[in-house]
């Protein structure tokens, strides 16, 4: 059985050798035929030995690996028992928005107030009515970065780690302190919280190379619209006063202002360009409109001419006799009952265009139908029971005007 496994691949390439040449293919010139013969004799000996001595260990290895794999496959179900870790993960899959809200709820549950300022976390950061709620953005880390780099704002990130001895230390000491609130309002920073035990939290912590929790970091946009970590406070606080953090922000503020100016400048440039574009666009449309109208009117004329040539002359006898009331005059005409009401529409249109009378264009023989679908700019109604006359219905079926009736032309 082993041989056939190995021989299978080798068989595949065997037929190629004894492959009967296609008709009309170039006859193999005889020189490369001898040459392979010599080769086969030469290489028959060496690789055969090589094949033989390599053959056995490789097969053994192959078997071993296979047995190993199948054994692991057998034990796979045992892995299931660890699933209760993954169970915990599924409910994290919901979107980053309400992960943010979960963190806010957990943090506000701490309910310990800062001594000096008297704020509690909830009063400040409650999603609906917190003082700083407008500074907060519900979303993931990437949204924060995108928003801040575009608006040129500082982003203050705080990592919450539930399993520390005192997880709410930063809430008590910094987040609800006066200086912090002032700083946020003064620099109009975006504030964002994140829980480390969530996948996104862990990934962000790793990318910011955080080595201790809890963590408070300030990110500022750079010229190449990336965000740079300006200041960081990590691990337990001893006698830390927030002014250092603020000093770093202040020192970077000039750059921030400059970046904002640059952003506004870019924004302005963009707006300018947009306006130019839009103006250019309008002018473009206008003259497109114009030549479209011109073109359309010619088309119309051609169509009407065509339509006139196709117009069915007034039947002598039994047709349907119709009186058409225009704004200030009445026309009485007979129409062949078997035609559609569209014939009446065409007639009225031609009449209004005054083409009916002139017969000059009679002689252009076959006017092919311009591929233009004419829109009648008026509607035909029958007054007594007021119904709209559909061009597509056949005159015969329209009870209100067959065998005779009156039609009112109404312009939209």
């Amino acid at each position: 059985m082993v041989f056939n496994i190995f021989s299978r691949p080798s068989q595949q390439n065997q037929p190629a050798v004894s492959f009967t040449p296609l008709p009309g293919s170039f006859p193999e010139d005889n020189d490369n035929t001898e040459q392979p013969e010599q080769e086969t004799i030469l290489n028959a000996g060496v690789p055969r030995i090589l094949k033989m001595c390599l053959y056995i260990p490789l097969t053994l290895l192959y078997y071993l690996l296979n047995i190993l794999l199948t054994s692991v496959e057998v034990f796979k179900p045992i892995g299931k028992i660890f699933h209760f870790y993954t169970r915990k993960d599924n409910h994290f899959s919901d979107d980053l928005g309400n992960q943010f809200v979960n963190v806010i709820d957990v943090l506000s549950s701490s309910a310990d107030t800062n001594e000096q300022s008297g704020y509690t976390f909830d009063t400040l950061y409650n999603v609906e009515n917190g003082m700083l709620s407008k500074n907060m953005i519900k979303g993931g880390y990437t949204d924060i970065l995108r928003r801040c780099s575009s608006d040129g704002k500082f982003a203050i990130i705080s990592f919450f780690n539930p399993i520390l001895y005192d997880p709410f230390e930063y809430v008590r000491k910094i987040l609800t302190s006066n200086e912090f609130v002032e700083c946020v309002t003064k620099y109009n920073c975006v504030v964002w919280f994140c829980d480390v035990t969530t996948p996104q939290g862990l990934q962000t912590a790793n990318s910011l190379k955080i080595r201790q929790f809890p963590f408070l970091g300030a990110l500022g946009p750079q010229r190449n619209n990336k965000m740079k970590l300006l200041a960081r406070v990590e691990g337990q606080l001893f006698d830390y006063d927030f002014s250092h953090f603020e000093a770093k922000l202040a020192s970077y503020y000039s750059v921030l202002v400059e970046i904002r100016r640059q952003r506004q400048y870019q924004e302005m440039q963009r707006l300018l360009r947009e306006q130019q574009d839009s103006r250019y666009q309008e002018s473009l449309e206008r003259d497109q409109e114009r030549d479209r109208v011109i073109e359309e009117s010619q088309l119309k004329k051609k169509w009407l001419a065509w339509r006139k040539s196709v117009l069915v002359p007034e039947p002598s006898g039994d047709g349907c006799r119709v009186s058409i009331r225009l704004e200030n005059e009445r026309i009485i005409r007979r129409f062949d009952a078997s035609l559609t009401i569209e014939e009446i529409y065409a007639y009225v249109a031609l009449y209004r265009a005054g083409l009916l009378s002139d017969t000059s264009s009679e002689n252009d023989i076959t006017q092919e139908k311009p591929n233009y679908e004419y829109q009648y700019d008026f509607q035909l109604y029958s007054p007594v029971p007021r119904t709209r006359l559909e061009p597509t219905t056949v005159i015969k079926e329209e009870r209100t005007i067959y065998p005779s009736g009156t039609i009112v032309v109404e312009f939209e």
Binding site: N66, T70, I163, P199, S207, R211, M227, D239
Partner: protein
């Protein structure tokens, strides 16, 4: 994305600000080395038959986790301790130390009770062999690791054409923590069947600890570690005139590594000799 360009998915390398991990790694290697130097490796040996039954050396229960006997164990354990620095980051150094000591205490007591119960009450079964080395403590911590570090990404390994199985492909679903799982599995298998049994026991121990049945994860604060020992440089009140983004030494290493060599690139051999000459 922030300017620290490397989208570091794994946690920061190096042992800066990870004192407990550093101490544990050094002890893991150092204890094994000094034991073999002093030819006292037998201190960490625990076998029920000769020692506990005849000589009653119960102190062995306390020492069998402190050092590991064979060298491959030392290697694996050191690597695992290094991988567990993310736990230290999560718990904070002091709590991490307390958790390690607590789990060592609990696993020792549990193994002590189970082994004595088994051997005394059921004379038939004779649980003689125990693992040596910090395997129980590590597996205890694995539970905390798996509980509190989420999986960042998953990937599948598809192996096809196994001739024994009728289905033509095997699919392995691995997460970004596969390296640690591999190491842990290796550590357990390295000790044979008892490794698996004791591993399971200590894992269950951890689960009990985590959800409070075995008290102490939060309240146990005996370990002598003061937080100010591992105070991160960012909370120091340095004069504000200091530059904007303080560089921890770890970044320095990286900076140093990428720093462009302005003098002509010294060949490796010259560099090697220079470490001694200059």
């Amino acid at each position: 994305m922030p300017s620290t360009n490397s989208v570091g998915v794994e946690i920061p390398t190096g042992l800066v600000q990870f004192p407990i991990t550093k101490i544990l790694m050094i002890c893991c290697v150092g204890v094994a080395l000094t034991a073999s130097l002093f030819n006292m490796k037998y201190l960490f040996l625990l076998q029920y038959d000769p020692f506990i039954v005849e000589y009653g050396q119960y102190w062995r229960y306390f020492t069998f986790q402190l050092g590991s006997l064979n060298e491959s164990d030392v290697a694996i354990m050191t690597l695992i301790w290094y991988q567990f620095r993310s736990l230290e980051r999560l718990f904070g150094s002091r709590k991490y130390l307390n958790i390690v000591i607590l789990s060592w205490a609990y696993t020792t007591v549990v193994i002590f009770l189970i082994s004595n119960l088994l051997n005394k009450l059921l004379p038939g079964i004779w649980w003689d062999q125990y693992t040596n080395g910090p395997l129980p403590v590590i597996l205890c911590l694995t539970h905390f690791y798996k509980q509190y570090t989420p999986r960042l990404y998953e990937f599948n390994i598809i192996i096809n054409q196994p001739f024994l199985l009728h289905s033509n492909t095997i699919v392995w679903k691995l997460t970004d923590q596969f390296f640690i799982h591999g190491l842990l599995f290796l550590a357990m298998v390295n000790q044979g069947a008892t490794g698996l049994v004791i591993g399971l026991i200590s894992w269950i121990c951890a689960i009990l600890m985590d959800n409070g049945l075995l008290p102490g994860t939060d309240s146990f604060q005996l370990a002598p570690f003061k937080d100010s020992w591992n105070r991160s440089s960012s909370t120091l009140n340095r004069p504000s005139a200091v530059m904007t983004n303080d560089m921890t030494s770890e970044d320095l290493n990286e900076e140093e590594a990428e720093e462009p060599q302005d003098e002509p690139q010294r060949t490796l051999g010259v560099q090697f000799l220079d470490t001694f000459r200059r």
